[in-house]
Symmetry: C2
Subunit: 208 residues, 2 copies
């Protein structure tokens, strides 16, 4: 089971590392972090560096492709050869997946046309630009394309994938192994958040 994570500068780190922590525990999993070029990619904020051991030229197939999001996705969408790589890998995968605004990269690659999909709540409507049908859901599975909502939703999506590829017992074992028995202090749903909370978030999400 070869699993390729696309990473890039200004990535939201948890978009990738949440699913990594789940998927790397599938028996026989072989994980590859892939950049346009190999080397260190700086997250958003840049105080964290993640290493791409592989360049896109090094990787020509995968069983699972995972495309995370973050502020840097807009730059990735403007790189035709990276989008071409996404399409080429997708042609070889069993599952092609995204977390957060990684869905916009799948969309720009033409993979979401006519499909239901999800992304971070702040960018949901933008999916229409790529012919996708936005769904306000945690995880959307459509054929072999699985998209997750924002950031932390990648953990739920990855556990969903493990059920599909390795069954419920292994999936629950991984969930228990990472002690994913969440006790968040608040309601994390944007639709139900009080106005002062959304006011704090406004500057961050007031972009393209």
């Amino acid at each position: 089971m070869r699993i390729a994570f696309l990473i890039f500068d200004d990535i939201t780190a948890l978009d990738a590392i949440g699913p990594f922590e789940v998927l790397c525990r599938i028996p026989g999993a072989e994980v590859m972090f892939v950049g346009e070029t190999a080397g260190i990619k700086r997250a958003d904020p840049k105080s964290l560096g993640l290493v791409a051991d592989y360049s896109s030229a090094d990787v020509t197939s995968a069983d699972i492709l995972l495309v995370p999001g973050g502020r840097g996705e807009a730059q990735v969408r403007e790189k035709p050869h990276v989008l071409e790589w996404v399409r080429r890998i997708d042609a070889t995968t069993q599952w092609t997946t995204s977390v957060c605004t990684g869905a916009l990269i799948l969309g720009a690659a033409g993979l979401l046309n006519g499909r239901p999909a999800t992304t971070h709540w702040a960018r949901l409507e933008k999916l229409r630009e790529f012919g996708a049908e936005p769904r306000s859901q945690r995880v959307v599975e459509d054929g072999k394309i699985v998209t997750a909502a924002g950031v932390s939703a990648g953990i739920d999506m990855a556990l969903h994938l493990v059920r599909l590829v390795a069954g419920d017992t292994v999936a629950q074992a991984i969930q228990v192994g990472i002690e994913y028995d969440p006790q968040p202090p608040f309601d994390g749903n944007a639709k139900r958040a009080p106005a002062p909370v959304m006011e704090v978030l406004r500057p961050r999400y007031q972009r393209n």
Copy 2:
């Protein structure tokens, strides 16, 4: 608000990156990834590399210290100068924190003596070796020491910390920003997991 993450080889990546994704969003936060030496640290599994921009010699104080866990913690506990660094930074912090088996490093540094604390469910009893009182809780706060249960519990712990340092509105905004509205497919609590699930996990957690 200077936040230091200790990282090392064979770290469980999500122990650090879950809290990073939360704490880096505190207004004015300055995050430092600190290794015994600077450079790339390989997670468990090694397919992921995380960059320590700072060596322990570079960092002499922090407002928050976060010590993650993972298979590599046993090696860290055998490095007196790293434990000495943990004690030295702790003497300067507002909050000293751990995720998962990072608590065993705090324990080995002598910081949990006589204190209630938590860690990954599989290692909870080991806390007694360091004079700590094991608590089967998601997050344990005792004075300025805050310990989290296994792996994903670091996200909950970090949101708890944000409440303490920046208040409820900012904390909820960060939770909504990372869309932390969890929908795990299973019950992730080890105490309630069925026998076949625990059987899958047995080889992984049958060590020191």
